[in-house]
């Protein structure tokens, strides 16, 4: 996902003023994925939301000390959302990989059994014991079931976490905090 361009950045301007503009855009990008990403089948939106969370987190990690106190809390909250979306993304990558692996084992077994049958009229079920992956299928199926269940659970957690951010006024509080300026230490 390409990041939205931030207008009016001035290299000679104050860090806080520029960072404020960047955070506003990155925050808007992140929040813009809801409600689309509240649909568990919206794999792309969830992935893009993770990237948006990462961008917001990195700019906040560097520049939160320039702003009001909530910016620091928001950094942690953004990281938590990013981590959770990252775990969902891992499942979204690993489930099809596991499925493809299972399909490969099945195809190899089918080919081997076909060859073992020779010119028989029908396949003898007893040949199944000779299939090269006879002992592998159960574990791969268990893994796929585990990943699917984990993905459901993580998605529930994501919805609950986002709803909590919403209830606690995450967006409004961060927007307010970046309008504040921390005292200068020099």
């Amino acid at each position: 996902m390409k990041a939205r361009k931030v207008a009016d950045l001035d290299p000679d301007g104050a860090l806080a003023d520029n960072a404020e503009r960047i955070v506003r855009v990155r925050l808007d990008e992140l929040c813009g994925f809801m409600p689309a990403a509240a649909d568990p089948d919206e794999v792309v939106a969830l992935h893009d939301m993770r990237i948006a969370a990462k961008r917001l987190r990195y700019v906040l990690e560097l520049t939160a000390p320039c702003f009001g106190p909530y910016a620091k809390a928001a950094t942690k909250l953004t990281k938590e959302i990013q981590d959770l979306l990252g775990e969902i993304h891992d499942c979204d990558v690993q489930i099809p990989e596991t499925r493809a692996f299972a399909e490969r084992l099945l195809a190899e077994d089918a080919a081997a059994l076909h060859e073992a049958a020779g010119d028989a009229d029908d396949l003898d079920p007893a040949l199944l014991k000779q299939a090269p992956h006879a002992r592998d299928h159960a574990g791969v199926a268990a893994l796929e079931a585990h990943l699917r269940a984990r993905r459901l659970l993580l998605f529930d957690r994501f919805l609950a976490q986002w709803s909590q951010l919403d209830r606690k006024g995450f967006r409004a509080r961060l927007e307010y905090a970046i309008g504040e300026r921390a005292p200068v230490h020099k």
Partner: protein, 166 residues
């Protein structure tokens, strides 16, 4: 995981000065993690270097307007290429690690298939390591660290910290 160095910033300091200083630190951190990164027995090394590459890339993007655009684009492209190569190695590392943990919880009869998948991923890990080795060599040949420092120095030539950097 190695923690990124905390970098003090002041709200009123020039955007370009902060950018130059932060890029120098994050570039140094990236190359400090290069030692032993090709050793597949210790997957934390590649993880640390990958995290450092992501932080550096993020910093370059955050401070992009502060840098001379011609050189910046080439440097960012090279950082992205290195980060992608680190990902090629890291992704199977993570998957193998997760499957090993998962396998411990399984009934003996179910371990075979998961172990077979781990073997498959180890082949991918070895290919990822070759990709990473080539990317590290390319970064060295193209003087990526030096170009990053030069980019930072050029962004803020008056920064008193510039001369103090190695």
């Amino acid at each position: 995981m190695a923690k990124a160095e905390d970098i003090d910033v002041e709200p009123d300091e020039p955007y370009r000065r902060a950018g130059a200083r932060i890029v120098r630190v994050r570039a140094r951190e990236l190359f400090e993690h290069a030692d032993g990164v090709l050793d597949t027995r210790d997957i934390e090394r590649v993880h640390d270097m990958r995290v450092a590459s992501r932080r550096l890339r993020a910093v370059l993007e955050i401070f992009a307007p502060c840098f001379s655009q011609g050189e910046f684009k080439g440097v960012l492209r090279d950082v992205k290429a290195l980060a992608d190569a680190l990902g090629e190695r890291r992704d199977p590392d993570v998957h193998i690690d997760a499957l090993r943990t998962f396998s411990k919880q399984l009934l003996a009869a179910n371990k075979h298939g998961v172990n077979r998948m781990i073997e498959d991923l180890e082949e991918r890990q070895a290919r990822g390591n070759e990709v990473l080795a080539a990317a590290l060599e390319r970064a060295e040949e193209r003087g990526l660290h030096g170009r990053l420092v030069a980019l930072a120095d050029d962004a803020d030539p008056d920064d008193p910290e510039a001369a103090a950097q190695p």
